[in-house]
């Protein structure tokens, strides 16, 4: 078995409201592996991702990034440990008025904490690297264009390029295709697949489409009410198991 890049062990998360969002959830992702997390709304999959990303501090368990527990870190140490992970969101979150290239170069700011970059000047030395990241996502021709002019799918790919510019070991994607049309969704999923297979990144991707997960994931992790229901290769997961993630919820929703 390959060594895990990112590992979550027995994560529990109880919000201040008393709601238990995560209940002993564990996962691991190795280099070159694409892990998809599935589950209904509110099952805890976004909470899980945020705990791994170090945006939320879990109330139990630990998150190991390259063998180091990040749940006990804070401040500068946390943000440095976090730099091994890049994140992509549902929205591209680009600065619309800046060029696509400038947005991608912004992904490297974490390793250029100095006066000039604090004054809004982008590190020149990173332009080449940023161009390579843009080529990787197929947007090299759009480098000088304003980010605000990109279509939804292009913008999402540009945000993936920004994440790659960070030179992460793992990529966390929180519903990256939720606001894209089917064609753009396929394109983004193909890109994530390639990033993990060819570049050797560990990718954790939260999705809503079991069908996309089946076609692109190495492993699928099914979640329900904060618990991990299954964690296996797509071939080993029966349709019935997949449906069970969503089924009870409708009845519960009606009862509520």
């Amino acid at each position: 078995m390959r060594t895990a890049l990112v590992e979550a062990d027995g994560l529990g998360m109880r919000y201040a409201t008393g709601r238990l969002a995560l209940d002993g959830a564990s996962l691991s992702v190795a280099a070159g592996e694409l892990l998809v997390i599935l589950g209904h709304n509110g099952c805890g999959k976004s909470t899980l991702l945020k705990c791994i990303a170090g945006l939320l501090r879990p109330t139990a368990g630990q998150v190991l990034v390259a063998g180091r527990d990040i749940t006990s870190l804070s401040g500068r140490a946390l943000s440095e440990a976090r730099m091994a992970m890049a994140m992509v969101f549902q929205q591209a979150r680009l600065v619309g008025r800046r060029s696509v290239l400038a947005n991608v170069v912004c992904g490297t700011l974490g390793r250029h904490r100095n006066v000039t970059s604090a004054l809004g000047i982008l590190p020149r030395t990173e332009r080449q690297h940023a161009m390579e990241c843009l080529e990787e996502v197929g947007l090299a021709g759009f480098a000088t264009q304003r980010a605000g002019t990109l279509s939804g799918g292009q913008a999402q790919r540009a945000s993936i390029a920004r994440a790659l510019a960070q030179r992460p070991a793992a990529l966390l994607a929180d519903e990256p295709v939720a606001s894209l049309d089917p064609e753009a969704s396929e394109e983004v999923m193909r890109l994530l697949r390639r990033i993990s297979s060819s570049d050797g990144l560990g990718v954790i991707c939260v999705l809503h489409q079991p069908e996309l997960a089946r076609r692109y994931a190495d492993r699928i992790l099914g979640m329900r009410q904060g618990r991990v229901m299954f964690d296996d290769t797509p071939g080993a997961i029966a349709d019935r198991q997949m449906q069970a993630l969503y089924e009870g919820v409708v009845i519960q929703g009606l009862a509520a």
Binding site: A53, L55, S79, E80, R82, M83, A86, M87, F89, Q91, A92, R93, L94, V95, G96, R97, R98, C106, G107, T108, L109, G110, R111, R113, S117, A118, L119, G120, L122, S159, R162, A163, Q166
Partner: protein
């Protein structure tokens, strides 16, 4: 299919009619009340301002006399009035620039999404409110007393009042900003300053520039008036000429004022269009 559409249209029409009938009655009763209140308020304001339209008619003769004595404008004074004209423009320009420099950090503290903390927020908001609440003319009176006659107290007044106006508008722009890029850049490991200069600044800069240009335009008009209380510029010249009954100089000054106001309005509008 057709039948269901017809049913729906009829149902909509019926429900709209049903809503409208009581609404129309209620609306008109309220309308009458509103109109009555408005007329009462208007009548009392006419009484308080001692509005006497007949005075305008009897005063027409005096107006015509002043106009005749003001014509033609005394263009021989043009050269000596160019310096005060420059003073007026510079009071506004200097005052606005200083105000922008002060308003930006204040606005950052006064916007709830970028404020470093509750006490900063409260302090910045109160300072902005104070600067804004006191009119620039009053600030000018205060500064003339403090630093003496001349354009400098005018520039101070313009900048203090503008800090309040700009601070509030800037803070609103920052609060309406899309926070997505801010969160995304924070995740890449960028520090607070970097996030600010690379995500916040590029998103809000065009709006801030537009507001600042509009403010400059307003400030040129208000710096014309500030001279009346001794804060230099064309206003001061206007006051002097009025007091000396030099109406032809007054008309020249009004022509100059008109030209300056129109020019700056046009320029600021053109610049704002280019930014947008």
């Amino acid at each position: 299919m057709n039948a269901t559409v017809k049913v729906r249209v009829e149902r909509e029409r019926a429900s709209r009619g049903g809503l409208m009938t009581p609404g129309r009655w209620g609306g008109s009763a309220l309308g009458f009340l509103g109109l009555f209140v408005f007329l009462v308020v208007l009548a009392q304001s006419a009484m308080v301002v001692q509005a006497r339209p007949q005075d305008l008619i009897t005063g027409a003769h005096g107006m015509a006399d002043i106009l005749r004595r003001a014509m033609p404008p005394d263009f021989s004074k043009l050269q000596s009035e160019l310096w005060p004209a420059l003073e007026t423009v510079d009071i506004a320009f200097f005052g606005t620039t200083v105000a922008v420099l002060l308003a930006v950090p204040l606005a950052i503290m006064a916007a709830h999404n970028t404020s470093p903390g509750r006490p900063f927020y409260a302090a910045a908001r109160s300072l902005i409110a104070l600067c804004r609440a006191v009119p620039d003319l009053v600030w000018a009176l205060l500064f003339v007393t403090a630093v003496g006659l001349g354009p400098f107290p005018g520039a101070l007044a313009v900048s203090v009042h503008s800090v309040g106006m700009l601070g509030r508008l800037f803070a609103e722009v920052i609060e309406d900003m899309d926070m997505g890029p801010v969160e995304a850049l924070t995740m890449t490991g960028a520090n607070r300053l970097q996030v600010f200069s690379h995500a916040v600044v590029p998103s809000v800069l065009p709006s801030l520039l537009g507001i600042a240009l509009y403010r400059l335009d307003e400030n040129i008009r208000s710096s014309l008036v500030l001279g009346f209380v001794g804060a230099g510029g064309l206003g001061f010249e206007l006051l002097t000429a009025m007091n000396l009954f030099q109406y032809r100089t007054v008309s020249l000054l009004l022509v100059l004022t008109f030209v300056i106001v129109i020019l700056t309005e046009r320029m600021s509008a053109a610049l704002r269009r280019r930014i947008g």
